[in-house]
Every structure is written in C-alpha cells, then in structure tokens.
C-alpha cells in the first residue's frame, strides 16, 4: 500500500499559500472575516483545526511554539496539538510565554504581556458575532458590509432589561479599528482588554466555519457597551491560592463534596513564574 508522505507542518505548500493569502487579507482589513477553503485535518472540526491550519501556514523551522488550552500547557487538547506539530515539523516548543514566537491558544490570552514579534493564534468555534441573532450567512455578510450593528446593541439592551447587567461573560463582541464588530473567540471578557493595542499580531482561525480574521499589532479594539453600563471585567475576592497573584483569571477547583473550593491561576506558566519570584 502506498502511504502518503507529509510536508513540513503537514499541509502542502499550495495549501499554506492559500491560507497565507487569506491571512494577508485579514490583516489588511482588521476584524473582517475572510473565507478560506479549510482543509480536512487529522483532528476533528471544533477541536482547533482553524488554529492548527493558521499555525501550520506560518510556522518556520526557527519558530518556538507554545500551545495552551484554558490557559494551561498540560490540558489534553493542548498536549495533542503540540505533539502534532512536533511530529510534523520538529519545531522547538516551550511553556514560557516570553520565549515563544507563536502561541496557539484556546479560550485564554496569556497573562504575561505579549511583545512585538510574537504571534497569537486563537481557536474560534463560531466566528460570526451576529450568528445567534441572525442565522443566515447571506444576511450577516450584508450587515457587516453596511456596518449595520444595531442588533448587537439590542442584545446587550435585552440583557440589561432582563438581568440588570450585560450578561455576556465570554466571546464578548468588540469593534476593531472602529469598523468591524468581531467575536474574539470564547476568551473570558476578562481577556478583552488584552486585545486592544497589543504589540503582538493576533490571528483567529475557524476551521469548521472556514473563516480567518486578524487584529494587527497596535490596533484599537473596543468592547461593546453602553455609556451608562460600561464594559467591565470579572473580579475575584481572593488571590490565587498557590502564587498569591491578585490580577489574574482564576480557575475554581472543587476540593470536596461539601462545597470546598479553591481558586488557582488559569495561566499555569504565569502562576509558576509568580511562585518562582516569591522564592
């Protein structure tokens, strides 16, 4: 039987060129969803194929790759994706945010501030922020083209009318470069401020929905809100139980069946660094 031979980072060069063209378009129009011919990958749709295709298209042998899921390097899907890239490209990997040139992530932006020259690749399940208000693609395309975003504020209005506050806590919609409203992927709204004016290039890949979008470095990203109900991030009333950090996103760990809880940094690399600093 003839077994196929795999190219560096799995995708063939033609496919990589196609994806890079889409990325260039995305960078040229910040926040705009560029359709691309997503390829079948060896991991399921919904498990990061968009992010993997973006990373595969930009990866070079000199890169250092970090892969996280829920902020941690050791969660099962992060492990699986990192192994995939090591297997198909031999690229160097790291857990330290500051040492990575490419960071592929699901659902978090690292606590450690990113620097110029780094690329953040976010995995996106549903790229269309208007999707749950308007299911038809033909209509949402028009709404973006004509900047008809009234309906997004309608949703926020409804939240306030019903709950007294905006009830969106993740995948919080934001306006990019004062033009396109986008879905920053299911990062907690806690991470939205990190999108704004970042020195890093932020790329967003949705494999199943076949869209790529981007926020170029130092681009304005403003989360949607009302003047009298301004955007605010989550807070906890305690620091991380392990490292003592106060300004990071905390995971809730259930410790017993009597309601015992403890709160720990979601970003494992950040937490480890804080612990080292304390010593």
């Amino acid at each position: 039987m003839n077994a196929p031979v795999y190219n560096f980072a799995y995708l063939n060069e033609q496919t990589k060129r196609m994806i890079r063209r889409a990325i260039l378009k995305a960078v040229a129009i910040p926040g705009y969803q560029v359709p691309f011919a997503s390829r079948e990958m060896p991991m399921p749709y919904g498990w990061g194929t968009g992010g993997v295709q973006v990373t595969a298209a930009i990866l070079t042998p000199d890169d250092t790759l970090k892969v996280i899921d829920q902020g941690a390097d050791d969660t099962t899907n992060a492990v699986s994706i990192r192994k995939f890239f090591v297997k198909t490209s031999g690229v160097a990997t790291t857990e330290k945010t500051e040492d990575a040139t490419i960071i592929q992530t699901r659902h978090r932006i690292p606590e450690t501030p990113l620097t110029a020259g780094q690329i953040l690749v976010l995995q996106v399940p549903i790229p269309e922020p208007l999707r749950f208000l308007e299911p038809r693609e033909t209509e949402t395309r028009k709404m973006h083209a004509l900047e008809e975003y009234g309906v997004m504020h309608v949703k926020l209005y409804e939240d306030i009318a019903r709950y007294g506050q905006i009830a969106t806590t993740y995948a919080y919609p934001a306006k990019v470069a004062d033009r396109y409203v986008f879905d920053p992927s299911p990062i907690p709204k806690f991470d939205n401020p990190k999108l704004d004016n970042s020195p890093a290039l932020q790329l967003f890949g949705a494999g199943r929905e076949k869209r790529i979008y981007a926020v170029p470095p130092f681009t304005k990203v403003k989360s949607l809100d009302f003047e009298d109900h301004p955007f605010e991030v989550q807070t906890w009333d305690q620091p991380c139980s392990i490292c003592g950090a106060e300004g990071s996103f905390l995971d809730e760990i259930v410790t017993d069946d009597k309601g015992g809880r403890m709160f720990v940094c979601s970003d494992t690399d950040f937490c480890a660094k804080q612990q080292d600093a304390k010593l």
Partner: protein, 256 residues
C-alpha cells in the same frame, strides 16, 4: 405642498402575468393615499415596488430626501436604501411578526432603530422607548415582555412605535388592520389617524377595506387587475364613484 414621492408608470410583471402596470401619482408631505382593491388587484405588488422590497419591471420612483435632494430610488446604493428604510421611512406589515423582532422585548424593538443609528445610552434609549410605547398605548409594565406575549392589536401598535421612533416622513402600510377583530381595528385606526396628524406623516395605505380608506386617507386609488381604474379625493370617490368596478365596491360595503 411639497411633493415627497413621485411614481411614474410603475409596472411589474412575472413573465406573462401582470402584477401592476402604468401606475403614476404624486404624494405630498403629510398626505395619506389609500390604494384600494381586492386581493389580486396588484396593490400589494405596487406597495412593494414603491418601498423597494421588489424591483419594478418598468417606471421610476423619485423621493425628496431629508437633505433636500430629489433622488431616483433605483439609483440609491443598497446601503443608502437600507438606511432610508430605517430612518426616513416606515413599513407596517399586515402580519406584525414580519415587522418585529419577535425574539426581543417590546422595548428593545422600539429602541433598535435608535441603536442602529448610534444611540449608546441605555437609560436614554429606554426612556425614548417608554415614551413611544405610551403614545401607542402600550403600558410601561409590558415593555420588557416579548411580543409573543402581546395581543394582535398590541403587536401592531408596537410595530407602529418601532417605525415612528426615528420620526420618518413616509410610512407604507400593508393592510394594517388585517386579521384584527372589529373593535381592535377601530382603536388602531383612531391611533394611526391621530399619529398621522400629529406628526404630519405621509402614508401609502394598501387595503381592501373601504372603511379604512375612508378613515385614514385624503386621496385614494382604486386598482383592478393590476391597473388604476379610478383616483381622486377619498370623499368624492366614495360618494360618487365613476368606474363601474368602484361603484360595485362601494355598493357592496354594508352600510352600518
């Protein structure tokens, strides 16, 4: 009186079948024109052509924009047309579900147009919304309910408020009282008449019901099989119909 909308030789055909043809008229600011006919007369086709929902096969419509220009509607870009529909125009559908966002509250329905043109203060949006709902006699305590919980008459009133919040100058209405029972109809017509007067609205009202035409409009056009067969001041046409078909229509209305 300033001409607001001008239609010349509007026609729409589907292959061999004629939807409407050779329709011409002028509409002035503050004037209500009723388009009357049975189902199949072409009146709804005409309305949809005028409002841009349907592309006419022939003829042209010009409109005096808020900034003073008079434009041929066919020359507007899609963006301009959609903006016009959301600000200077209104469209009241026969079935309120087509004209409302059923999945959000009454208040949000009214506030949407404001948010679409940049309103960003929740408190103010809510206050304006409340105000308009009061004008259409929907009480404040129903404002956060979904339109699914409203009666048919309430939904129509909500539709009207949703359209009027941006102070449009022209409203298209397609059988606005269709499907509502008689007392509800009467109340709604009274409301519409009051609003039209108060805000000096121009309107084109399509209806098969002569009573609606009589109550709301100052001028009317009678359509049959796609053509306008009679036009004139409403009182005159109803009092002294000339065309045989109009005479038939008028005489067949039960005199209550």
């Amino acid at each position: 009186m300033k001409t607001l909308l001008s239609a010349r030789d509007i026609g729409k055909s589907y292959g061999n079948r004629v939807g409407c043809e050779n329709v011409s008229f002028d509409l002035h600011a503050g004037e209500v024109l009723a388009v009357v006919g049975e189902s199949g007369s072409g009146k709804t086709t005409l309305l949809r052509c005028l409002s841009g929902h349907l592309q006419s096969s022939s003829g042209e419509v010009t409109y005096a924009m808020r900034d003073g220009r008079t434009v041929n509607l066919a020359s507007l870009s899609e963006a301009e047309r959609r903006l016009l529909m959301r600000t200077d125009w209104g469209f009241v559908h026969q079935d309120a579900r087509e004209g409302l966002r059923m999945g959000v509250s009454g208040g949000a329905n009214v506030g949407e147009r404001l948010m679409a043109v940049g309103a960003r203060h929740y408190g103010n949006i809510r206050a304006v919304s409340e105000d308009w709902l009061a004008r259409v006699e929907i009480s404040k305590d129903r404002m956060d309910d979904s339109p699914w919980a409203y009666s048919g008459g309430m939904r129509q009133r909500l539709q009207i408020a949703r359209n009027l919040v941006t102070s449009p100058r022209l409203i298209f209405m397609d059988e606005p009282t269709g499907g509502l029972d008689v007392s509800v109809q009467a109340r709604l017509l009274d409301l519409i008449r009051g609003l039209v007067r108060k805000f000096n609205l121009a309107a084109i009202v399509v209806t098969h019901d002569l009573a609606v035409a009589r109550l709301l409009s100052s001028r009317m056009m009678v359509m049959q099989q796609g053509r306008v067969i009679e036009t004139g001041l409403t009182d005159q046409v109803l009092e002294d119909p000339q065309a045989p078909y109009t005479q038939l229509l008028v005489s067949s209305v039960l005199q209550v």
